[in-house]
């Protein structure tokens, strides 16, 4: 059993605080992804778990053992580095067996474990090669093989795919997912790529400026982002974020934004939001469509807008609309006709897909959705 617990973990570099009171419980065999823009402290946190960075405050436990003062080699972890960090003077076989050789394991055991990992990763023909004679994807596999061979309690991945080209990155992503299904271990994975985070994670930890913004399943992070930052970071193309105000509108409350019709709030969801409040309105591109192509929507509201630009992507298309001062993105799946810039087009927006954030703090205003329908 190897759960990883972080309690009030802090990292300071002199006067600069890189990580603030980081609290997280990672379950045994869970796949957790730290995601955030560069400089958000995700790699620093991972390196503190690995023991490569000192912990300035708080406590880290791996498998119910406090590891704060243990050197990396005593933590029974393995790590895959961004640039692989393979030993260039050792063959693929020696690279993978290095940890076991350092632990003075018998030769037959090393041989057997290296062979098993190599078979799993399709590296058997390359065992006698030096890393310099391998492609990027193969080096990546060797780095993973080296991590697996040691049979660690926890796998740490530090942006492992960011040096690969887009196609290979997609392939390796799938392989890592399959690998985790075969080799059940606790995994902590750091990336700045929200697609990797969404596809790989059991739970995503979104970080910004050394703090946790949200910890949740990919579904919840996408459908109920805890803050304006998370809403803008997760999802591609990003959510449309529009500065707006709430206004009293007859019995209920509506959101008013320049260029938009009044958007009435559903009191069942936004009951606690009062009138005359500065808010940020969040609408995913998927929630907006030209009326003639819109599928069924839970709470449709029609409005007119100009299409200024169309980006056809084959199976889908992105439309850019001018609404007041903002440019809004709409995403159409399987566009049935050719789309072109056009004036005064009839659109619908699904108000059931509306998010509201406090304009000042960025915090989510509607109650988090608990039931997944």
């Amino acid at each position: 059993m190897a759960e990883v617990l972080l309690r009030q973990v802090v990292k300071r570099y002199g006067a600069f605080q890189a990580v603030h009171d980081f609290d997280l419980d990672i379950a045994h065999e869970e796949f957790v992804v730290f995601v955030g823009p560069s400089g958000c402290g995700k790699s620093t946190t991972l390196r503190m778990i690995a023991g490569l960075e000192e912990i300035s405050g708080g406590e880290i436990q791996i498998g119910s053992r406090v590891v704060n003062d243990l050197p990396p080699r005593a933590r029974n972890i393995s790590m895959v580095f961004q640039n692989y960090a393979l030993y260039p003077h050792m063959t693929v076989r020696q690279n993978q067996g290095f940890g076991l050789r350092m632990a003075k394991r018998p030769k037959e055991e090393i041989e057997e474990k290296v062979n098993r990992a190599s078979k799993l990763l399709g590296l058997r023909e390359f065992l006698s090669r030096l890393p310099a004679a391998l492609s990027g994807g193969q080096r990546q596999r060797v780095a993973m093989g080296r991590a697996i061979v040691r049979n660690p309690d926890v796998f740490l991945f530090d942006e492992p795919l960011s040096n690969l080209d887009a196609k290979l990155r997609g392939q390796m992503r799938t392989e890592i997912k399959k690998l985790h299904d075969k080799v059940r271990t606790t995994v902590i994975y750091v990336t700045h790529d929200q697609v990797e985070a969404m596809t790989l994670a059991d739970r995503i930890v979104v970080m910004r400026d050394g703090r946790i913004e949200q910890v949740d399943t990919p579904y919840e992070v996408f459908h109920a982002p805890a803050s304006r930052f998370v809403a803008g970071f997760i999802g591609s193309p990003p959510m449309n974020l529009i500065e707006a105000r709430t206004v009293a509108d007859g019995d209920g409350i509506s959101v008013s934004a320049p260029g938009w019709p009044a958007l009435p709030l559903d009191p069942a969801i936004f009951g606690q939001v009062g009138p005359d409040r500065a808010v940020t309105l969040g609408l995913r591109p998927e929630a907006i469509a030209p009326e003639r192509m819109a599928g069924s929507m839970a709470r449709p509201l029609a409005f007119n807008a100009d299409i200024t630009l169309v980006e056809p992507l084959g199976g889908e298309a992105l439309l850019f609309l001018k609404m007041g001062k903002d440019e809004i993105t709409a995403r159409i799946f399987r566009p049935s006709t050719r789309l072109a810039p056009e004036r005064d087009v009839r659109f619908v927006v699904d108000l059931a897909e509306m998010h509201l954030f406090d304009a000042g703090t960025g915090a989510r205003l509607n109650a988090p959705r608990t039931a997944i329908s």
Partner: protein
């Protein structure tokens, strides 16, 4: 426009024969000044020197000059001083280079870790290299003198010497005086080159190794040493040749004495040529030294090639 006019004839095809010959001639033309200087100051004196070794050539006896076959080499074979000088050269070179390597590597490892005042310390370490060997020889000569220096008394206090006397006048120990000076003077060279090599080792390899469970010693053994090995081999090679060939410290400190006890081959060459004025014999000694050093270099490069695979 003349370029455009004749380009269709040659473009897209390999250059014609005269053209290629011209290209070769052009390269030799540019190399000519360098080659002639090397020939003038190295190859010609080398050939002349080797030819001297097969001659009877003593400045005092100009009338008896002439070819004498391998007579100089036969004399050399039976010359006890030659064998002593050869053994001393080996001892001098081995101890000097071994300690320079060991201390230089130690210094490089220390300087590779950050600590307060590192920049100052680093420039201090490299200072001896800037001191002329001649001056450092004089300094060490004084340091070994019990009348002006406390060093012999200290060596006695720690039990290295039985009494505070001058080791430079002791036939059994005289050679270790210049060796000490040579070590002091040559450590910076190893420290500089090895520090540069250490800085080129990617840090994440050490991180990967520490996660893979390697202890500090294992990281050193399996990462640092393999990375440093090419640099160590080439530095040892260079230093061995330089140290083996350098007579100045010994000449300044002991003049090969007392009674030839600290004579090395380069010194013996020097004394034969400019004290006995026997250029033939000196040339034979120098030729032997050169052949030995060439054999040594080839051997070391061969070993390095084998290790590299």
């Amino acid at each position: 426009m003349s370029v455009a006019a004749d380009s269709p004839a040659t473009s897209g095809r390999s250059p014609s024969r005269p053209r290629r010959r011209f290209a070769a001639a052009e390269a030799w033309f540019y190399l000519a000044p360098g080659i002639s200087i090397v020939a003038l100051v190295m190859l010609v004196p080398l050939a002349v020197g080797i030819s001297f070794s097969f001659q009877n050539y003593v400045i005092f006896r100009p009338m008896s000059r002439g070819w004498n076959g391998v007579e100089n080499y036969i004399d050399l074979w039976t010359d006890r001083t030659f064998w002593l000088a050869l053994a001393n050269t080996a001892r001098w070179t081995f101890w000097s280079v071994a300690f320079q390597l060991g201390l230089g590597l130690g210094l490089a490892l220390i300087l590779n870790k950050p600590f307060p005042g590192r920049a100052v310390f680093q420039s201090l370490v490299f200072l001896p290299w800037a001191v002329p060997t001649f001056l450092s020889g004089l300094n060490w000569q004084w340091l070994f003198n019990p009348i002006v220096s406390p060093l012999p008394a200290w060596l006695t206090a720690v039990g290295v010497l039985d009494a505070p006397r001058n080791i430079l006048s002791d036939p059994d120990l005289a050679l270790y005086g210049p060796i000490t000076a040579m070590i002091w003077w040559g450590v910076p060279f190893f420290a500089i080159t090895l520090l540069a090599a250490l800085r080129s080792i990617p840090q994440d390899l050490y991180e990967a190794a520490s996660i893979d469970g390697a202890s500090a010693w294992q990281s050193f053994r399996h990462i640092t040493v393999p990375f440093l090995m090419p640099m160590i081999t080439i530095t040892i090679l260079l230093r061995t040749v330089w140290v083996a060939n350098s007579p100045d410290l010994i000449f300044v400190m002991t003049e090969g004495g007392p009674a030839n006890s600290s004579q090395t081959l380069p010194n013996y060459v020097f004394t034969s040529a400019y004290k006995s004025m026997d250029f033939g014999y000196a040339s034979a000694l120098a030729t032997v030294l050169m052949v030995l050093l060439v054999m040594y270099s080839v051997l070391l490069l061969f070993i390095r090639g084998r290790l590299g695979q």
